[in-house]
Amino acid sequence: MRSNTPDEETIAALATPRGVGAIAIVRLSGPRALEVAAGLVRRPDKLRACATHRLLPVDIVLEDGSTLDQALCAVFRRPHGYTGEDAAEIYLHGSPYIVDRTLERCFALGARPAQPGEFTLRAYLNGRFDLAQAEAVADLIAAGSETAHRTAMAQREGALSRRLGSLRERLTRLCGLLELEFDFSDQEAPLVEPTTLKEELTSVDGELQVLEASFTRGRLAREGAVVALAGAPNVGKSTLFNALLGEDRAIVDATPGTTRDAVEAVVEWDGLVLRLVDTAGQAGHFQGPDRQASDRARIAARAADAVLWVWDLTKGVDQDPPPPELADRTLLVGNKADLAFRPQIAAFPGLAVSALKGHGVEKVKEAILRLVLPDGGLQTADGPLTRERHCEAVRRARDDLSRGLAVIRDDRGQELLAQDLREAATHLGEILGEITPDDVLNRVFADFCIGK
């Protein structure tokens, strides 16, 4: 993605969405950023003399000296700005024409177009923040809900980094003591007692386990949860779907198999984003297009974080059970409670609702939230893991620790334990981006939009 040296080149890009708007911001960063900005304006000397973090009214002029726009320019001098380099932001009137002409001028003056995420990459390379914090910047921009925003903000402010840093520090310290003991084994008392060692490792592993579990929360907060409505045809899945949405999105009809392609809608409940998916009815005897729709519904249910398996209460308890492999995330819902007999409702093991009348729909919402949300809800100020990359590294660190605990148990020797601890610490460091291979950087910054 990056083909030139970060140190010499000055980059420019539009930092606001393309299109007509009140304001558009063009951003510049790099050693020549202020020079390029100065080249755009009528009074370059004023811009050159401008202190960092100051806003300057400027006339943007074209080559012929005519005024393109009356704008404001914010000046950032290294190492104080976002990227840690000299940088400028120009607040233009939000016309695509003005923006294009301004960028053209920037490129003519020696800047080059920025790659997606390059401003943040530079900030990371300049040590403005670690890799997890850089990722949070992308999340902050993409945040579509209060929870997603809160999570991204906590990570940006270093909640996760601090947590990982302190665990890493504990491991490094233990490892250091063990290694010291190789060289000072003639000391009468060991530097770390085996019991202390075991307790400390168990405690760190416990915290890592909590971190690993927090991925469910972090991922949910960042990406939201997928909830699929599934079950036999004509049990009222689409009616329930509409009731949950509070609007008539899916087509409802008494004819079985009305829903063929899955219908999706996004809702936000209690600050959590959920994608509700209404699927086609499933039945073993289907053939042709019904068969295909049924198969797709099965796949959609498998990919969901929660499945509402819907029964028709009027048909008794002898109905298709939810697929056993989804048991841990399935909520059994009995629909058409308004038509069912009281004993039928009493014998039903799940939640009885009437989607049509809106009875019990709130209970279903609560049950869904209980099902997808781990204990403690979506509390994310502590800095949960938000990416598979984080989770993988924590899992590896835990593998290292469990090997280490086995070494202690079997008394296999401190030299092995020291290596396990060192590797665990390294794995945690990877999340923060300590000595990061190029490819990891590319993957992380590929998520960004241009201008960030």
């Binding site: 050693p31 290694e179 190789f182 060289d183 090997r403 300590e434 190029d438």
Partner: protein
């Protein structure tokens, strides 16, 4: 006064570094002149008459595997040898030998004298002969000029050496030996950065006045522990060491002398080693410790003198004696020579290339304590590498630079050129991150390729290592295949061997295995041991090798000396400064320099990838 003598290599200093350097260069075909103040004092053991010990034993084994002298000299003068750290895993075992001090010098002197192409001259080098910014020889205090195409300086603690005992101090390199003055100032005047370090040594005691019955005896291992291969046929008579300790009384007396201690009155400016503190340092820093262990170590077979390990001091002599006499066994002790501290000049080795050649003055090599290390083994290893690399440079070949993943010598050299010395540098097991791979037992095998490249080892030795590697592979196969019956269970032998208490070296396991395997183990116990360790350490070795691979990728990214870090604005200011100053040879080295952050490494990596 000009002499018409021209040498390929001139070595200044006849200590552990100088002897290895001179011998290696001469055996590689160079004409060598070894200039030393006192040719009858080669390879003196200025402090403890012991070689090896934790991590240091690895250095000696490695030098031996590459053709150095130290292991051979040690084995021919050892009067007590033991394998240390046996309570821990084999990766951190290390051999140590107590030597006969006089014999050590004799054996070394004989080896040096028998080396063709190696001459000696008595004298003190006071300055270099320069040819532009290249070293081209030396001038002695007497005014003799010796020209050499390469110059190796190994001055030990002699450069502006200053000895302290209590409030008394005088210029000296070792006690009763003149310091070397002039050369250090000359180098400083040429622009090299210089620091002052301090080290110390304990008193020497008259063994006839020690009551050993009040101390604990420590004997040699029953089986000889050798450093060299092939080992000598005979082991010298072995003598014990003795353990005793200080007590509250001792500490009281030492404390009473602190107001006359050069360490605490500010007379000593140099930085001393934290890991090897003087006894007065120990009682000040560890006030709650009621006793400190002391070892009484014999200085030789033909002498009654004892070295008291753990009691390095520069307190006034009367305080030393009074304090010693409170120690059990030393109530009547006569002190032959008081302990003292010595301050000396060193030149931070970040001014050197990994070959130990000076960056600013080509053809000049620095080795040993002048580079800020402490210890005979550390000095010898550098001397050896400097000698080899000086010869290779004359022969137009690339220097041999050992990696951290190859040898403790590699770790030592890498640390020296990347880290700012904060105290005299001593080798530690903890410094070697790949310690499971870099064991003392496999030095010959893991360094086989380097030994071939250096070409100091005789063909017979190279072939012996090759054969041993083959046998190791063969034994490994049998180990993987065989099953044993243990506690009414039939187990794969490999699984059984993973138990920490089990070893093929032990009778229990040996008796369980097939006759074929028994024969193999008897035939080559060393190969069997290594094959067994591969199994014991199974996944750990594999993972460590993966880490080596990661390091190798960083090391493969070469940083040219012309690389202009000032241009890389994205680097932190501190990193820019240290990198510009140190000029690391690879990105791996750069990553280990204090002050260089992970993000700095990433920036350089990104930069290099883009070319």
């Amino acid at each position: 006064m000009r002499t018409d003598q021209n040498y390929d290599v001139i070595v200044v200093g006849g200590g552990h570094a100088g002897c290895e350097a001179a011998s290696a260069a001469a055996r590689l075909g160079c004409s060598v002149l070894l200039v030393t103040q006192n040719p009858s004092a080669l390879a003196r053991m200025s402090c403890n008459p012991a070689i090896g010990g934790l991590a240091k034993g690895h250095l000696v084994r490695e030098m031996d595997a590459l053709g150095g002298l130290m292991g051979r000299v040690t084995d021919r003068s050892a009067i007590q040898s033991r394998m240390l750290n046996r309570s821990k895993g084999p990766a951190v075992w290390s051999p140590r030998a107590q030597c006969d001090r006089r014999r050590y010098t004799e054996v070394m002197t004989a080896m040096i004298a028998a080396t063709p192409g190696l001459e000696m001259a008595a004298g003190e080098a006071v300055r270099l002969i320069l040819d532009g910014d290249r070293a081209a020889g030396i001038v002695t205090r007497a005014g003799e000029e010796y020209r050499g195409r390469r110059v190796i300086l190994a001055g030990g603690t002699f450069w502006n050496g200053l000895i302290h005992i209590g409030e008394w101090s005088r210029p000296a390199g070792r006690i009763h030996e003149e310091p070397a003055v002039g050369l250090s100032d000359h180098l400083a005047a040429l622009g090299l950065r210089r620091l002052r370090l301090k080290t110390g040594t304990p008193p020497r005691l008259d063994g006839r006045t020690i009551d050993f019955s009040r101390t604990d005896r420590q004997d040699s291992d029953p089986e000889p522990v050798w450093f060299s291969h092939p080992p000598p046929e005979e082991r010298l008579p072995q003598v014990p060491c003795w353990l005793t300790s200080t007590n509250a009384c001792t500490h009281e007396i030492l404390r009473g002398g602190l107001d006359r201690s050069p360490l605490y009155t500010g007379r000593i400016q140099g930085i001393g080693p934290r890991y090897c503190p003087s006894i007065e340092d120990k009682i000040v820093r560890f006030t709650d410790k009621e006793r400190h262990q002391l070892f009484l170590e014999p200085e030789g077979l033909d002498t009654d003198e004892y070295y008291i390990n753990g009691f390095a001091t520069s307190l006034p002599e009367d305080v030393q004696i009074a304090a010693l006499r409170t120690v059990p066994g030393l109530e009547q002790v006569v002190v032959n020579r008081p302990g003292y501290a010595v301050e000396y000049d060193m030149f931070p080795a970040d001014q050197l290339r990994p070959s130990l050649e000076c960056r600013a003055l080509e053809h000049l090599y620095l080795a040993g304590q002048v580079n800020g290390t402490s210890g005979y083994e550390e000095a010898a290893a550098q001397g050896f590498m400097a000698g080899v690399n000086a010869a290779r440079s004359l022969h137009g070949r690339d220097p041999v630079v050992l990696g951290r993943n190859q040898a403790y010598i590699g770790v030592l050299m890498d640390d020296l050129i990347t880290k700012v010395p904060e105290e005299p540098y001593r080798m530690f097991t903890s410094r070697a991150e790949f310690r499971l791979l870099l064991r003392q037992d496999n030095a010959r095998q893991r360094l086989l390729d380097v030994a071939r490249e250096i070409a100091l080892q005789p063909d017979a030795e190279i072939q012996a290592v090759e054969a041993s590697l083959q046998r190791q592979a063969q034994i490994r196969q049998v180990l993987e295949r065989e099953r044993v019956r243990v506690e009414d269970q039939c187990l794969p032998l490999a699984k059984y061997l993973r138990r920490p208490e089990v070893s093929l070296q032990g009778e229990a396991a040996y008796n369980l295995v097939s006759a074929e395997l028994q024969t193999l183990v008897r035939w080559d116990p060393e190969a069997a041991f290594q094959a067994e360790l591969e199994i014991k350490y199974d996944g750990y070795l594999t993972r460590q090798e993966a880490n080596v691979e990661a390091l190798r990728r960083l090391e493969a990214l070469k940083l040219p000396e012309s690389f202009d870090y000032a241009r890389l604005k994205a680097l932190s200011a501190e990193a820019r400064q240290v990198l510009q100053q140190r000029k690391p040879a690879t990105l791996g080295q750069a990553s280990r320099i204090p002050g260089v952050r992970a993000s700095d490494v990433t920036i350089i990596m990104v930069h290099l990838r883009r070319g």
